[in-house]
């Protein structure tokens, strides 16, 4: 089977942002422009995560989803603050293919079953954000790592799969944005205990981290963000200057600074590396996007 490279785009209001430990957000630009670039570069899927969904209205996000889905024909997952079946329906109608849910599922696990029954299991991605505790256990969190749940991440993963989750997005909050590599133990334990695909998220710093989380972490798919965003920024800037929207920290862009802890890479370079290590993925792409 082939491993998927999923480009994760964190969204705040109208902007693509990226942070460390999901805090200290930096503004990077318009998400749909990045999405289009990643689509053309050979991303296997896209993930839009509304990182401050509870603080902002949804119209920005829905507009971005609609604009994206009209010109991008790979699977698009959307998450962040989806609490009701109607929320899911709204996002799917805007053009998402799948949704990612976390907080609402933790508060009421039956929500997973209801969503899977209504929209099909394959549409429902359950997001598990985990933090490793000093005793070696992993606890599930919500709200981008801000709220404890008291749930053991491994038990919770098995339970969500039983309730009808189609895939699990497993994020290490400890590693998120650090470039120190994926949390292999977290990913492997969950991947081996559930029958559904597991997407590893949080910590990619270099291509070798990605092949490692496939071989050792048993991940079925991988989320990548920081490694790709600055290459994309440079590309987009070379096209038409660069437009910024709204408020936020853009000083780093003016200063032309990347993420110092992360190797700047591209989807093609990552896939080439995976292929060289004998990991099957959609590479090379046969046709360029017209």
């Amino acid at each position: 089977m082939t491993v998927r490279i999923i480009t994760r785009l964190d969204i705040k209001g109208p902007n693509l942002v990226k942070g460390i430990h999901l805090e200290g957000l930096r503004v990077l630009g318009k998400p749909e422009k990045f999405a289009r670039y990643y689509y053309e570069e050979g991303a296997d899927e896209l993930l839009y995560m509304d990182v401050v969904a509870s603080l902002y209205g949804r119209n920005n996000l829905l507009d971005i989803v609609t604009r994206t889905s009209k010109e991008i024909f790979i699977p698009l997952t959307v998450g962040g603050g989806l609490r009701t079946l109607d929320d899911i329906k709204t996002v799917l109608r805007a053009g998402a293919d799948k949704v990612s849910i976390n907080t609402a599922a933790v508060h009421r696990p039956e929500f997973i079953r209801e969503a899977a029954n209504r929209f099909g299991s394959s549409t429902i991605v359950v997001s598990i954000e985990a933090i490793r505790r000093s005793d070696g256990r992993y606890e599930a969190y919500t709200d981008n790592g801000r709220e404890k749940t008291g749930l053991d991440a491994f038990e919770w993963a098995i339970h969500t799969a039983e309730l009808g989750a189609g895939e699990l997005l497993v994020t290490s909050i400890d590693r998120e944005g650090t470039g120190k590599g994926y949390d292999l133990e977290l990913t492997r334990k969950i991947a081996k205990s559930v029958p559904i695909p597991v997407i590893a998220c949080g910590g990619a710093g270099r291509s070798a981290d990605i092949s490692q989380v496939v071989w050792e972490g048993k991940a079925d798919a991988i989320c990548v963000a920081s490694m790709l965003h600055y290459t994309a920024v440079k590309h987009l800037r070379s096209l038409d200057g660069f437009e910024f929207e709204g408020e936020g920290n853009i000083e780093h862009l003016k200063a032309n600074k990347g993420f110092s802890k992360v190797e700047e890479s591209s989807i093609a370079a990552i896939k080439k590396e995976l292929a060289a290590k004998g990991i099957l993925c959609r590479y090379p792409l046969e046709e360029k996007v017209a």
Partner: protein
């Protein structure tokens, strides 16, 4: 060109509609017989359970009209659950009768073995489609594609047509080789999602529409 995308409450049809709109077809989501009869092409998409899907088609009284337009030669495309519904029967959660437009059955990965498979089910992701030995892709919706090109799948079951010659492409998942698309006169079926398969998928849909136009 009018394209009727059958809306029977099974999954999200917006990606399919966006793809056809991108190709400049007039694509609507509908459960009306009049729309289906008046369309130049009929698309049966869907995700979810086979039994539930057949129940929904019966409740909307669409079984007859779908079989009629298929028999009359109207270009007909079944996607994902849609290709499965074309078959005579499915063994997903029991035994269910399908539309019986194509003779054959729908079976689950690993169903024929005792041992639990070592790969994930459903298959979610990109996989290759290969030509079969006895069938060319010339003058089919797959024409011009590179053999072994990648398309996007989400499925736990696959179709087994009784007449193997309707199989247009095969794919492999784990130790199973399965029919990933079929073509029988006006009936085209894809187990993968062309609407989510990037430029390759758009090309397949475009070439399906060209058959409609000709």
């Amino acid at each position: 060109m009018k394209v009727a995308i059958i809306d029977y409450g099974m999954g999200n049809l917006f990606s399919v509609q966006h793809a056809f709109k991108y190709l400049e077809a007039y694509a609507i989501q509908t459960s009306s017989k009049k729309d289906i009869l008046g369309a130049d092409a009929v698309i049966l998409p869907g995700v979810g359970a086979f039994g539930e899907a057949m129940k929904a088609l019966k409740r909307l009284d669409l079984v007859g009209v779908l079989k009629d337009v298929a028999a009359q030669g109207k270009p007909f495309l079944g996607i994902c659950l849609g290709i499965q519904l074309l078959m005579s029967e499915s063994f997903e959660f029991g035994h269910h009768e399908g539309l019986n437009i194509i003779e054959g059955s729908v079976v689950r990965f690993g169903q024929e073995r005792q041992k639990k498979p070592e790969y994930k089910i459903p298959e979610v992701g990109w996989n290759r489609i290969h030509a079969t030995l006895h069938r060319s892709w010339n003058s089919t919706p797959l024409r011009g594609l590179k053999k072994g090109t990648f398309v996007y799948f989400v499925h736990s079951l696959y179709v087994k047509p009784k007449d193997a010659s309707v199989t247009l492409s095969v794919s492999r998942y784990g130790d199973t080789e399965f029919c990933s698309s079929l073509l029988s006169d006006n009936i085209f079926g894809c187990q993968f999602h062309p609407e989510k398969s990037g430029t390759v998928g758009l090309k397949i849909l475009k070439q399906f529409l060209e058959r409609v136009a000709s």
